[in-house]
Assembly symmetry: D2
């Protein structure tokens, strides 16, 4: 940590800053850069909040030289991590597509979706049973009763199943019935939920919060990782901006940026990232080209009748066509579907 001192900082002020650093078990050392005076603080800086110094008299700016996340960082682990979802690999060399409806709505809809996903060759079925909805008056998901349905479909199709947990109770159900726990964008900083996921044996799909920086996202991953669960897959799903042409602004540029900082795999959700089914194929291909490890994509047997997010769901036909295109493109990017 480096502290840039104000030009007129007094000796008493500098002494107070140094004393504060020592209290926090840091070692302060004066540094000069031309006419500017700085203090270098070394030791266990990651546990120290820069705010501890920012308001002290004589301080112009506090610069954190090391990122606060550890276990998610390339410094902790240099090689790319491959996460195993009940035998399905997510990581380098593969391009893993997880597909299915936004919400599981009925036995018939779920079966049609699962069959469409399997027929198109995607190995993982997605589908929400607990839906975080903006309005309390919208459909909130089938809840617990949907798990039996999914058990049957998993057994019949051999597909793996990923679904969202929204609190401790639903997370326990997901653990008992699914192959991967999804943490949604709205819960990316629900730290109680992250800690609970960190104690799970199942891999975790961690969606990016809609206004989360890359650093905050990797800090959220560290909540799970530091709980003892090494299997975290990131998922970019669009951020909130001033744009009105799409539901969210899909930030594909975060992929090469994340690759530099973290060893964790990254998926892209072009369905939430655009909000428009007709824009999904273009952005799915762009995600592959930008270096993603796979997709989370919404497929519904009858999007016009979906109880949620129908406007961003692909039909089975369009999904099948997309899978063919991705299979053709993947080798150029060193990947196989």
């Amino acid at each position: 940590m480096l502290i840039l001192l104000k030009s007129g900082a007094s000796a008493v002020q500098i002494e107070a800053i140094s004393a504060r650093a020592k209290e926090l078990s840091l070692i302060p050392q004066p540094v000069r850069s031309g006419s500017l005076e700085l203090l270098s603080l070394t030791g266990a800086t990651a546990a120290v909040d820069p705010a501890a110094f920012a308001s002290m008299p004589g301080v112009a700016r506090v610069m954190n030289l090391s990122a606060p996340f550890r276990l998610a960082s390339r410094e902790f682990r240099r090689e790319d991590t491959t996460v195993d979802v009940a035998g399905v690999r997510i990581g380098p060399g593969t391009f893993t597509v997880m597909a299915g409806p936004c919400s599981i709505e009925s036995p018939a809809q779920a079966a049609d979706a699962a069959n469409a996903v399997k027929a198109a060759g995607a190995p993982v079925l997605r589908g929400g049973l607990y839906k975080p909805r903006t309005s309390p008056y919208s459909f909130q998901g089938l809840g617990a009763e949907g798990f039996a349905l999914m058990d049957t479909l998993r057994a019949q199709t051999g597909l793996r199943f990923v679904t969202e947990a929204i609190d401790e109770q639903s997370l326990e159900q997901v653990e008992a019935h699914a192959d991967m726990i999804q943490i949604g964008a709205r819960n990316m900083q629900n730290f109680s939920l992250l800690r609970r996921a960190g104690r799970s044996k199942l891999p975790v799909l961690l969606k990016r919060g809609m206004s989360a920086t890359l650093e905050e996202w990797l800090n959220a991953a560290d909540y799970v990782l530091s709980g003892g669960n090494p299997n975290v897959v990131l998922c970019e799903r669009g951020i909130r901006t001033f744009n009105t042409h799409a539901r969210n602004t899909l930030d594909l540029g975060v992929i090469p940026a994340a690759r530099e900082l973290t060893h964790l795999p990254i998926l892209v959700d072009p369905s939430h990232g655009t909000g428009r089914a007709t824009h999904v194929p273009a952005m799915a291909c762009a995600a592959l080209a930008a270096g993603a490890d796979g997709l989370l994509v919404e497929v519904h047997p009858d999007p016009g009748h979906a109880l949620s997010d129908g406007d961003q769901s692909l039909t089975p036909e369009r999904f099948n066509a997309l899978m063919k295109l991705l299979r053709q493109l993947a080798p150029a990017f060193g990947r196989a579907l």
Copy 2:
């Protein structure tokens, strides 16, 4: 709900949209505006997701004419609501200041803060026991052991106490020991937590999410209100933008906008809204002038030693000076501290 049809929409497409509307118990009626064709859908539109129509062939745009939130709306209740926090009123005619440290850190720090808050004349003490922190390696709050400390301080000072709940378990503790439940910005769309707060007898302080629209915020309030808890106070605390001059961008313009849509009281948190103690007094006065019903403001007996957010905490002296200034200004805005 109005559906604008594409210029070349076919009779078959229009028929399909009408059929879908009827399935959802809505009544479709054709409407013309010059050369443009629309369908008006009436009935219980609030429970219907516009996405049900947005992706159907022939649809150009779906316009929701009524806001999805109900109980928070001026249409549900025309007069301003006053919320009672164990005898302290928040609403028209008053300007209620809730102050205290970001985190409760120790008996001495808490006592000094409480005494400073009381001495300056603020009726409610704020202080975090469960802290949602971006990094898992930062101080996470005293947790459960802090409640006994707060019980003592409440008894000694007569101050009311508001503190944050981050999950069901902590909410139960807050209910048992505090006078008001704070739902933090990161949990504004933690719908399980909102539903649980809706079943509480305590009033709820609902902070705005850092990328939440006003409509989403009022929907979140409806989660609490529809659970049976009518006592919700909103709190603007800054939104996330491209700005770098402040920790968040305090959106005071949301106050007059919210006044038109909702009857609920609104506080402002200038501490998180700026992140800089030296900017807090200006924005606290601006909040009063913009029409806020009060403040949530950070005060720490020794900001340089705070375990969190020290750079945005006022000293007792500066807080006292701010309270004097607010007391002087309030009557011009029809309020009293």
Copy 3:
């Protein structure tokens, strides 16, 4: 245009709104949607500012049913436009790469860059002579004296040349020496400059403003088109968001969205869109996959010595490798380099 009336709007208020509409040569007609009352206004609505009604008593909301831009719209021209830059085509079936240094700095640097661009097979050389720089103390470009240099290089290499105009005077020089006029992001709403470009015979490369919506961008295109210049090429270069991992947030999702609304070609600038040379190849491929018609990419013979934007410039070697990869990928997207 549709006006949603407030629930208690009086007959007098509605009459006033109708009268105002008639003054503006619009035809008002009452429309009902269930319990809601609306007024449909038809006629030449594109020339009418919705603000004319928004503040009138009794008005709840004004909805513009038709987009304000005309000549850029698919309704004006259904088929994709191909723009010709001195024989180089930009549009469907091709993928046109424009490359070169951020700034033209010296005869040697310009020659090295031009040779590298030509050797890699890109047909258009980019290079700034007038540089809009955030600080007045930064290098501002060679200005007028650079044009002679570019004349020589164009003659020697056969490359087309695109460079930025920042005011009327520089636009006249660009017209005299280059093959295409670039309008930079900061000038996307410099309407005097757009009008002047609309009177030019040269095609125009119109970069998106850093906080421009798609609709505003197409309105800017209409300024050029309505001046009589039909040759406008759009260029996405990243928008401003809260992100810190990149200089700008490259909004590739705008490509499929723009395709629906406009017939104009769209390029992508992954250099400004990321600000990091190491991220450029991934985003260049993603742009192709998302449906772009080409790239604007920075190449510098010695990025470490660039007078501007060195950190986002590719070396000739990396650019050559990128061109090979794009040439290999393009056919899968129905394009050829």
Copy 4:
């Protein structure tokens, strides 16, 4: 300037960075902070683009320790600047209200507006003759023919007149007829226009760009100041965010932040900052409370008939009431209207 080296940076890489620094007339010196290695670069760093180093091998991060703007900074001038607009002072101790219609539309409208502004006690009339409009089909202002009208009104009322220049030609007309040159938000980085304004004898009102950081805004001021014109007044008018409740997000928090960095006066435009006349009085008072030096506010004798921005214009009655309120409040903030 400080360069943080990558952990594995080689001696050859560090040597290359040092050599590059020396070429740019900077003095490199190694600095250590615990296990981290840095290079301190001193000398005329303000003229050096950090990008010159950011892409070099071995560089992890480049930190600029000094702000790039000079003449606008508190370091250049410690005391607050007062700008004189033909005898009307803008700066400490005063609260200067500039009011009038968005556009000058006709002799009658201009006269009514001017009389209303004068009657309410505001000393400066605002009114656009050249209007930067998003669509080329919207009313673009009266242009040159309006100046004669304004000459008459100035003579009759004694009001000072501020109006916008959008290019060199209109700036010359503004110089000849008005008392202050307005540079609009869309032209905040029109550097040719800023340089031209820097050569003017008239004071300049520099509106903040809709996605400009505070630092970029002060750099824009430096373009004017470094041209020899010391009379720059800043004007905050709202930034672009994800918000939908207002036309722009008025960033009042920028006022205390700017006060620390610059000596220039700052006005606030609550009309553009909200886009809704009913929200203007609250935000006007909030601007005063936040420390602004005055307002730029839209007043129209008949907002329902305004040719532009009618929905955000106050009627003469509401403006008069606002002026009375401000006059009453100002002394508490050490100001007088």
